[in-house]
Amino acid sequence: MSSIKTTYHALLAKWHTLTGHKLFWPVFMAAGLVFCIAVDTFDFVDLYLQLILIYVGINIILTVSLNLINGYMGEFSVGHAGFMAVGAYVASLLTVHVCPAGAQNLFFPLAILTGGIGAALVGFLVAIPSFKTRGDYLAIVTLAFCMIVKSILENIDAVGGPRGLLGMEKLTTLPWVFFWTALSVWVIRNLVYSNFGRGVLSIREDEIASDLMSVNTRQVKIIAFIVSSFFAGIAGGLFAHALQFINPRMFDILKSTDILIMVYLGGIGSISGSIIGAVIYTILLEVLRPMGIWRMVLMPLMLVLLMIYRPRGIMGMKEARMFTPLRDLVTEKLWRQKKKEATDATP
């Protein structure tokens, strides 16, 4: 038993030196991008596996962006699928109706970006009630918003109404998913560890106290909602062009529940937790597919058991070293040293 433990610690230390290296992130990103482009051009991976990888990427974007609001800001938003719907519809409408037929590939990132901006505008609207309403009442606001988006989409005949929208080409490729996933993780991770991110965290801990400490809580909330919904919109656009068909019912409360489960499975307030949660949830659902409907019985059961034995999720407010800035690591090390000295000094 102890030998397993020592090997684990040795491996962990090696992993930490590897991820701590200056060139780790550039090399890792370049390798990932090259791999994705290779897969896309030479098709040496099964198409089904490629689709799963695409879903993993989309789910990572959704989970990380929801974690900004639910995990770091401590609100309980249940309407993330609504932002996703806005992004999906805006991007699809652009590629289907606006864009010239020959230039789809060039136009695609622009469409996704516009979808994200559309979702961000809607996120701005949702942020306004969050000034006064908090907690469960804000949960209702986001829930109602999600339902309103769904029923408005069902009532607009120009976007297909309840029948949905089709005619998108399969423009979501693995390199694009990789790019947007990396971008969202990078932006949100840097945001959280920036000056602004401290404001977000202080709202979670105590809103009034952070207000007293001259955090502009309104501004922080607006920006957090805008960033989160922007990436949800991007995920929606990617999702629409991976599936090539969307209808309003795909973005109902069940989709929001899925995203929530991924966030809390991985652990709130942790970028690495979100990534782990999204990857595990997506892959497990696919691996268990032979079980048919019973996998949908097993998954919630496993979630309940995990919550009982590990209420904070897999990572639970802890961050993997590779995502923690050096500054914080050094501070923590110094703090531990001081604590140790203090305990050593007192007999």
Binding site: N70, F76, P129, K132, T133, R134, D136, Y137, A139, I140, V141, L143, A144, F145, M147, I148, K150, S151, I152, E154, N155, D206, E207, I208, A209, L212, I253, L254, T257, L260, I261, Y264, I268, I293, W294, M296, V297, M299, P300, L301, L303, V304, M307, I308, P311, R312, G313
Partner: protein, 291 residues
Amino acid sequence: MAYIFQQALNALQLGSIYALIALGYTMVYGILTMINFAHGDLFMVGAFFCFLIAVYLKLSFVPTLLLSMLGVACLGVVIERFAYKPLRSAPRVSAIITALGVGLFLENFTLALSPYPKHIPQLLENITWTIGSLSISSLQIIVIALSLVLMFILDFIVHHTKAGMAMRAISWDKTIVPLMGVSVNKIISLTFAIGTGLGGAAGVMYGLAYPVIDPYMGIMVGWKAFICAVVGGIGNVRGAMIGGFILGAVEIMVAAFFPSTYRDVVAFTLLLILLIVRPYGILGKPQPQKV
């Protein structure tokens, strides 16, 4: 005029069902400050119990209703004991996510056992009285009357019995109450039994009023009932009743005067406006925040 009265009757019927479910949310919230998102699915289980009892045991209406309520209440207590009790000291959201998980489990378990929608047999003879251009069915009267009776019983229990006093005391202060000799676990179990039993009764009545049932019927109704509970001021029993009737009235009236596909848009927009104007619901009190 008769049209409006007719719609008002429909609104009362839908509203009383919403109110019964919202009561379950609000009671559990009041005592545990936890949102039991599995409640809508317990409502669905109630409808399925009704189907099973009516088809296989061939009982009449009253025993069916009582047995379904009992069954759902037992299920609610079991869920509380095994899924929520270990999480009482955990962060609030963990309990909420567990509740979502339990709800998904109930839905999919029912779906795995019965993949096709079921049709509840007619348990009550449905008589329709016509007064002028107004038609009133006995079913509507029974649904409305029965839910009002159940609500009065609940209101009596909460405000005029010792168990009810203990419930209110726990929602007031959870740390002092055990010192006064109240068994908190028993009261929480009782609250779950009553709350989910009412949800089961709502399931039976919903099944009688709209007889085709499927495993996903609880999701939408459950979330809407949650909205009712919040609109009334969550944790407040009378608020939940008011909220239920408000949402029922809004939904039916919107469907009566606009195209029915706009029902959700208008209903939820009104609710949003209400929450922006009164951020703590109709009867809820803003809690002072300490720094």
